[in-house]
Structure formats: structure tokens, C-alpha cells
Symmetry: C2
Subunit: 137 residues, 2 copies
């Protein structure tokens, strides 16, 4: 019985010590654990006043077509601003592209299909904001 107690106690001590270990990763570095390999690529646009609804529809369709053309895209979603806070800075469209590595994101950026999209959206961009981040809880 005392042996069982000792085993339980030592397991408990090991758990406490393990919990106190530094993770070894820099806060901004690429995570090494597979479960946390979610790189979010956030793209926000404000289109020019001269851009028509048809222009914007074509731009959105072009962006939405990328996941079928670029295998490195692990996730894709988008939508238009419905925030009541008035802090959108005029940005109306948000695209959330997910990658599993910076290498995949780096393959996406110069990909011909992405360059085609950039050529389509470029003339209509009044403002753009792009932030990539490794997703953490």
C-alpha cells in the first residue's frame, strides 16, 4: 500500500515538474506541435468607390477559386463586415486563408493562380491589410 502511495506521489511530482517546464518555443516562432500548426492569413479589403458591385463580385469569385487551384490552402472562408462597432477603418471584406506551414504560405504567395487574383483585385483596392499569425489559444 505504501508502495502504491509512493508511486502515486512520484507520478504527481513528475506531473508538477513537467507542467513547470518552459515550452522551449519563442512566443512568435512557428509551433512544432502538429496539432497547433494553424497559420492564419487574414486579408482585409476596402474597394475603391469607383469599383462596381460587378467588380467586387468578380474579385470575390476569383479569391474563392484559389483553394481549388492551390493545394497548399488548408482552409478558406470569407465574409463582409457586420460589426456594429464602427472600427472597420472602411475595410468591408475579410478573407481568412489557413495554411499548415509557412512553407505552404510561401508557396501560395507567388503561385500563378494567386498572382492572377492579385492582378484582378489590384486596380480596385483602396486599402488592404494583411496579417498572418500562428493560431494560439
Amino acid at each position: 500500500m505504501s508502495r502504491l502511495l509512493a508511486t502515486l506521489l512520484s507520478s504527481f511530482v513528475i506531473m508538477i515538474l513537467a507542467a513547470g517546464q518552459p515550452s522551449g518555443a519563442e512566443p512568435t516562432a512557428e509551433p512544432t506541435a502538429d496539432k497547433s500548426r494553424t497559420l492564419r492569413h487574414v486579408v482585409l479589403f476596402k474597394f475603391k468607390e469607383t469599383s462596381t458591385e460587378a467588380d467586387v463580385t468578380r474579385i470575390v469569385a476569383s479569391f474563392r477559386g484559389l483553394p481549388a487551384k492551390i493545394k497548399e490552402i488548408a482552409g478558406f472562408e470569407w465574409g463582409t463586415d457586420v460589426s456594429p462597432e464602427g472600427k472597420s477603418q472602411g475595410l468591408t471584406h475579410c478573407f481568412l486563408v489557413t495554411f499548415k506551414s509557412e512553407a505552404d504560405r510561401d508557396a501560395y504567395l507567388p503561385h500563378p493562380a494567386h498572382k492572377d487574383f492579385v492582378a484582378i483585385v489590384g486596380p480596385h483596392v483602396d486599402k488592404v491589410c494583411v496579417v498572418d499569425f500562428w493560431s494560439r489559444d
Copy 2:
């Protein structure tokens, strides 16, 4: 037996009629299908040059504490910008808060815990951008 068959058939007809109903929702309106009820609340910050690393750590910890205090938060993730594109407009921190309805987002905004966070971050904000969108493919 014929009564059971009639019941089954009428149930089937009702299901078909229900499936054919228009949703009544505008493309940009809150989706009615439960599967697509993902409202993304994207928050981007640029902190003041006078804000210290300790200030930023405290701000991040405060934001990260909200899911435990506000039950309407359905998902939470965050990270710091690693984009190589140079289009972050100085915004360094991105928080992605997920809600299941606009009512949940509307409960979050004036929630005392959220107001406490806003009071903590407020003095350190150089630039902020908030965009909410209903997630679509």
C-alpha cells in the same frame, strides 16, 4: 399497417416541403442553417511605442481570459503577425473571436469582463481594426 404507411408518407411530404422553403435570408444576413452559424470577430491592434512588453503581455493575458468569463464566446485564438508581405499597416496582434449568433456578439460587447479588457487595452492602442463577418466558403 396502411395507417403507419400513411403517417410515414405524410412525414416524408412535410420534410420535402420544409426543405424547399426559401430561407428568407439576404446573402449578407445572419445564416439560418445551424452548420453555418460561425460569426468571426476579427480584432487587430497596433500598440503605442510607449507601451512596454509587460503592458502588451498583460493586455494579451486579459483578452485570453475572456472565454472563461463570457459564455457567449464559442471560439478564441490569437497570434502575432508573421506576414512577409509588409501590408500589416503596423498592426501586430490579431485576435479571432467566434460567436454562434449576432445576439451572442451583442452580449459580449457590453459584458463587464469585456469592458474591463477595453479599459486595460485602451490606453495602449495606437491603431485598432475590428471586422465581424459571417463565415462563408
